[in-house]
């Protein structure tokens, strides 16, 4: 039983890593209608930027905040000078552009900081607490809390604010939105900027655990995508819930179904996604996209 609880706790903490990235993917998707493969790469870059500030002697919190601000600008610039050209075109092309961006960012990080693991200081203490007989590190607890907070903020942003409405309108139909006076270009920049800033938060949260390498989020990206699709592309709550669900389920299956084991446990979330999407194409928490003939 103790092991069971510990496995659930472990799953939640791993799931939080996926969730951090998933939220950023949801954000950029809501604001631009795009699946952004570079999201992880941008988060990595942000983490390195924060790292560089720490190296330069800034206190950690200030470094992270500064990195968040810089990432916002960076995201906005990427939108303005790169993605803008592709936003009206074939969505497949835009996705490939984000793949190219991921490659480029990874390359830049590698050139600037190399491929060796760098130790990113943790915002939270390394100690741990006991909950229900399971050991939870303060770090993953704090990470989880932060993620829930971000999730709530995003939900508010999209459903309760004028900015959120404008972002969604632009993602839905930029041409039509412009006719109502929405500054489409600026809103897209804001959307990308927010997603990149959120990526910076994600990078700072998972950086200490994964240690910094240019490809540190490549593995998490697939999981994050899976979580986003499973939870519903337009739902921050869904993304987080699905990420946790995937993390926990994987662990339990790997341990209690020896035939699957740790090597094939990754098949479980995908099988689950398949079954759930058959029943609910919009994902667990997503709103159905209405298409009329």
């Amino acid at each position: 039983m103790e092991t069971f609880i510990q496995l659930v706790v472990d799953g939640l903490s791993t799931g939080s890593i996926y969730a951090a990235l998933a939220l950023a993917i949801v954000l950029v998707n809501q604001a631009t209608g795009l699946i952004n493969f570079a999201q992880g790469g941008l988060a990595v870059l942000s983490a390195y930027i924060a790292y560089a500030f720490v190296q330069a002697g800034l206190p950690l919190l200030a470094a992270v905040l500064l990195a968040i601000v810089l990432s916002f600008c960076l995201g906005a610039l990427v939108e303005r000078f790169l993605m803008r050209r592709f936003e009206r075109g074939d969505p497949d092309t835009a996705v490939v552009v984000t793949i190219g961006l991921l490659t480029l960012v990874t390359g830049i990080v590698a050139v600037l900081w190399g491929y060796n693991n760098l130790q990113f200081p943790s915002l939270f203490p390394l100690s741990s607490v006991h909950v229900l007989g399971a050991v939870v590190s303060v770090r993953s607890l704090a990470t989880t809390v932060t993620i829930v907070a971000i999730m709530a903020l995003l939900q508010l942003l999209f459903l309760r604010t004028k900015l959120g409405l404008a972002l969604r309108a632009v993602a839905d139909n930029p041409a039509s939105s412009a006719l109502s006076g929405l500054p489409v270009g600026r809103l897209l920049m804001v959307g990308w900027g927010l997603a990149a800033a959120l990526g910076a938060v994600a990078g700072a949260l998972v950086g200490p655990q994964l240690t910094l390498t240019p490809g540190m989020l490549d593995g998490a990206l697939v999981y994050a995508l899976a979580a986003v699709i499973l939870g519903g592309l337009d739902s921050p709550i869904g993304a987080v819930a699905a990420a946790w669900g995937i993390g926990v389920l994987e662990n339990l299956v790997a341990v209690y179904v020896p035939l699957i084991g740790h090597d094939l446990k990754i098949a479980v979330p995908f099988a689950l996604i398949f079954v759930i999407l058959l029943l609910r194409p919009q994902g667990l928490f997503g709103r159905k996209v209405v298409v009329r003939v």
């Binding site: 409405l165 969604r168 309108a169 039509s176 006719l179 109502s180």
Partner: protein
């Protein structure tokens, strides 16, 4: 007082130029119709004004040259455009669509009242206030597009076949509302409308386009009297 003035406006899609010189004026508080066959360039003329197509010539609005402005800048000057076809934000609810229409406005309280006005005008929308625009029937979507333009409280309204897909009685109601808007708030309008009866019920003057050129301009009465016009647009 001229509000909008188009002088020898040209427009092109990519390498294809489709407007060859369109000239027209809309006086302040006036309503001008644009007539023409399929493909004559009516829609393109409206797009030229709202900046969604590449243009040449002169387009002046309230004394200011607006050619080359971005669509949202044009909208910010007080020009609302009901585009042709599905002009709604498909995955947003009816209420959200109307709220987006009022994006540029600051008077929060009045916005709520105006939404209420739209719902009175289009009772169909009231029942579906929470549905996504994409789920609406063709006519309901058209109503929503018109409603969204109303929400902007513009100085100039560009209507591109606003009656498209509307039931006769509804079309009538909408045009009645538009006329009221004109009378009450002095909104000027440029109207593309295939249903010439509706069009002439609203406009004072009209311009006839042929292959991207202005070929004729006249008052409603003058035009109604012309044989060619009768045959092509009015019947009988």
């Amino acid at each position: 007082m001229t509000l909008l003035e188009l002088d020898h406006v040209t427009a092109s899609y990519g390498p294809v130029q489709v407007l060859e010189g369109v000239s027209l004026t809309v006086p302040e508080g006036g309503a001008v119709g644009v007539l023409g066959a399929n493909g004559a360039g009516k829609t393109t003329t409206l797009r030229a004004i709202s900046g969604t197509v590449r243009t040449g010539g002169t387009i002046r609005f309230a004394g200011r040259d607006i050619r080359g402005l971005r669509p949202d800048q044009v909208a910010a000057l007080g020009i609302a455009h009901v585009p042709e076809g599905r002009g709604t934000l498909a995955q947003l609810s009816v209420r959200e669509n109307l709220a987006v229409g009022a994006y540029l406005r600051k008077d929060r309280r009045q916005i709520e009242k105006d939404i209420e006005y739209c719902l009175e005008l289009f009772p169909n929308l009231r029942n579906r206030i929470g549905s996504r625009a994409a789920a609406l029937s063709g006519g309901e979507q058209q109503m929503l597009a018109v409603g969204r333009a109303f929400m902007a409280k513009p100085k100039l309204l560009l209507l591109d076949e606003a009656s498209l897909g509307l039931a006769p009685s509804t079309a009538k109601t909408v045009y009645e509302a538009i006329r009221r808007l004109r009378v009450d708030s002095g909104i000027a309008m440029l109207v593309v409308e295939q249903n010439a009866n509706l069009a002439f019920s609203l406009v004072d003057t009209a311009t006839v386009l042929e292959t991207g050129r202005t070929v004729l301009t006249g008052t409603s009465a003058e035009l109604k009297g012309m044989d060619e016009i009768r045959r092509a647009y009015l019947g009988g």
